[in-house]
């Protein structure tokens, strides 16, 4: 095995090895081609469309530059109130999901034995396979005035919240919960037990350890989970139409504009609202390293 023969044998490998940039280019070409061509071009085209018009005569999109759609979206009171409502629901859903996810993720990662841990991961993942629609309809059943919820709480003087924003929040929190639990659980797995031991060794009570050690380390994972619940809620239009009573969310406005009115430019303009919100959100959390924890 002289050096020369092996050099010849590995000529392609050796060439690649010597050219780190080439290797990088080879790695990145296909994904960037895909994401850039398919996604970014599509997104850019959509955003440009927001500045075009629809010919009310033919219904075709016409390349005629206008700010009308943007102005409509920014000034119409319906967009303002729906945006506020949607962001409110998204924040509420996110907070609820995080609060629900933290104890269960902590229990899974740090208390449960390996067998129980495995079973719990399965238990958390399983609901993902029941269709979104089936689950949403199930909540419609549960929350109906004579449904399971009312049936359970009536003896103690409660009543079903009925269909409306509370029902929407409940349903969406339910739908996205696994997506929040999983990153938080993974994040907790990465927190070495020795750190927790160190904290309690230094005299911290468990709660104090959680607050001073676990949560700060977990912050990126929590943010990662929140991106799921926040963004999925921001774009949802189906759950709210099933359990949301007469309310509509941003997703409905976008959907109606494109699906019913065939007004893609206006839909694109309306889409700018959630895009802007998400971008601000991503920019805000970027520093936390959360984007590496999705």
């Amino acid at each position: 095995m002289s050096a020369t023969t092996s050099t010849r044998r590995h000529s392609v490998s050796a060439f690649l090895f010597e050219h780190a940039r080439l290797r990088l280019a080879l790695l990145l070409t296909a994904p960037l081609f895909w994401l850039g061509l398919v996604y970014i071009v599509a997104l850019a085209a959509l955003l440009v469309t927001a500045f075009w018009t629809v010919d009310s005569f033919t219904g075709e999109v016409r390349i005629e530059w206008t700010l009308d759609n943007i102005v409509t979206v920014l000034t119409a009171s319906v967009y303002q109130s729906v945006t506020l409502r949607t962001v409110g629901i998204a924040l509420l859903v996110t907070v609820i999901d995080i609060l629900l996810a933290l104890p269960i993720a902590f229990f899974m990662a740090k208390v449960a034995g390996p067998r129980l841990q495995r079973a719990l991961v399965i238990a958390v993942l399983t609901p993902l396979w029941a269709s979104y629609l089936v689950k949403a309809y199930s909540w419609r059943t549960v929350l109906s005035p004579e449904g399971l919820f009312a049936w359970l709480v009536e003896p103690i003087g409660g009543s079903s919240p009925g269909y409306g924003i509370p029902a929407t929040v409940i349903t969406l929190s339910y739908l996205w919960l696994p997506y929040v639990i999983l990153p938080i659980y993974a994040g907790l797995e990465r927190v070495p037990d020795s750190l927790l031991d160190a904290s309690s060794d230094l005299g911290a009570k468990p709660w104090r350890t959680v607050r001073s050690v676990v949560l700060p380390l977990l912050y990126p994972a929590v943010i990662a989970g929140s991106i799921f619940s926040f963004s999925l809620t921001l774009g949802d239009y189906i759950a709210v139409s099933i359990v949301g009573g007469a309310n509509q969310m941003l997703g409905n406005l976008v959907y109606t504009n494109v699906g019913t009115a065939n007004n893609l430019p206006l839909a694109a303009a309306a889409a700018l609202i959630p895009i802007a919100i998400i971008m601000v959100y991503l920019a805000a959390v970027r520093r936390t390293g959360a984007l590496d924890n999705l």
């Binding site: 490998s13 990145l28 296909a30 398919v38 599509a42 238990a123 797995e189 774009g235 895009i275 984007l291």
Partner: protein, 277 residues
């Protein structure tokens, strides 16, 4: 951490409570699949096996499941390849625009599905000039599935570092051989986890699907959407959901078992340390 019995008990109780909340609606689905009420009235006025019998005969449901499986498998395959490539690039190289690429991967999942949906719909029809089909649907699904593979692989790469690959190269293995014999086996369980999540994500996707599926393409969620609104079909949908839940436990359990032994030991980013030396 030395937790008191009490705090362990409280945590266990909270976990049980959350799981109860998670499973009660699913239990309702199971009950409704046997309910004589076609509209899921509560409590069920009576029980019947009719829906299960009907579901068993429903060719449409089977076809839809088949389509969904094909779409999810294809989208998963694409995202496995692309996700792995991109995570290798981001984890093993420093380059200008690295964080932009990172953002690019995350964007399709971070932006609401309806935006991805109408953007791709518009792209396919007007820019690419292609008819919506099974293929456009797969392309759309793969686009937002990349991130799950990406994240799992990235985390694994970070954990394993570059030592083993160096050892392999040191022992005479070329770039491809090293990937085949060392890198890939190290990534296997991460790929499995990421792939499973990608599959699940694609399998239950409805919003992007609505906008990017060809007319003849009926995935399971679309089938459900079409059928949940027919009074005489809605309970059949519950049956299908119940079957899916039960069947899904198998692959998840297998994946868990496979991913189990390696995923337990967190090792702080050795790769990063090596890179920044």
């Amino acid at each position: 951490m030395r937790l008191s019995r009490l705090s362990k008990g409280v945590l266990g109780a909270l976990t049980a409570a959350v799981l109860a909340i998670v499973y009660i609606p699913l239990l309702v689905v199971v009950l409704n699949s046997f309910s004589t009420s076609q509209t899921f009235a509560w409590p069920p006025p009576g029980f019947t096996l009719e829906w299960w019998a009907r579901a068993a005969r429903s060719q449409g449901a089977l076809d839809a499941i088949g389509t969904s499986v094909i779409v999810a498998l294809a989208a998963t395959a694409v995202s496995l390849v692309l996700g792995t490539l991109i995570s290798l690039a981001l984890q093993r190289y420093e380059f200008f625009g690295r964080s932009t690429v990172n953002l690019l991967v995350i964007l399709p999942i971070a932006l609401p599905g309806i935006i991805t949906g109408i953007a791709l719909n518009n792209f396919f029809r007007t820019i690419a000039g292609v008819q919506l089909s099974l293929l456009t649907l797969i392309v759309a699904h793969a686009t937002f599935c990349i991130v799950t593979v990406f994240n799992n692989v990235l985390a694994r790469l970070r954990r394993t570092g570059t030592r083993l690959e160096e050892a392999s190269a040191d022992l005479g293995a070329g770039v491809w051989t090293t990937f085949r014999l060392v890198t890939f086996p190290q990534l296997r369980s991460a790929l499995l986890a990421g792939g499973l999540l990608a599959f699940a994500l694609s399998f239950d996707e409805i919003i992007v699907t609505t906008f990017t599926a060809g007319t003849g393409v009926q995935t399971l969620p679309i089938w459900i959407l079409n059928n949940v609104f027919r009074p005489n079909q809605a309970p059949v949908v519950n049956v299908v959901a119940v079957v899916l839940i039960l069947v899904s436990i198998i692959p998840i359990a297998i994946a868990q078992k496979l991913a189990g032994p390696e995923s337990g030991t967190p090792r702080a980013s050795a790769g990063r340390a090596a890179r920044s030396r």
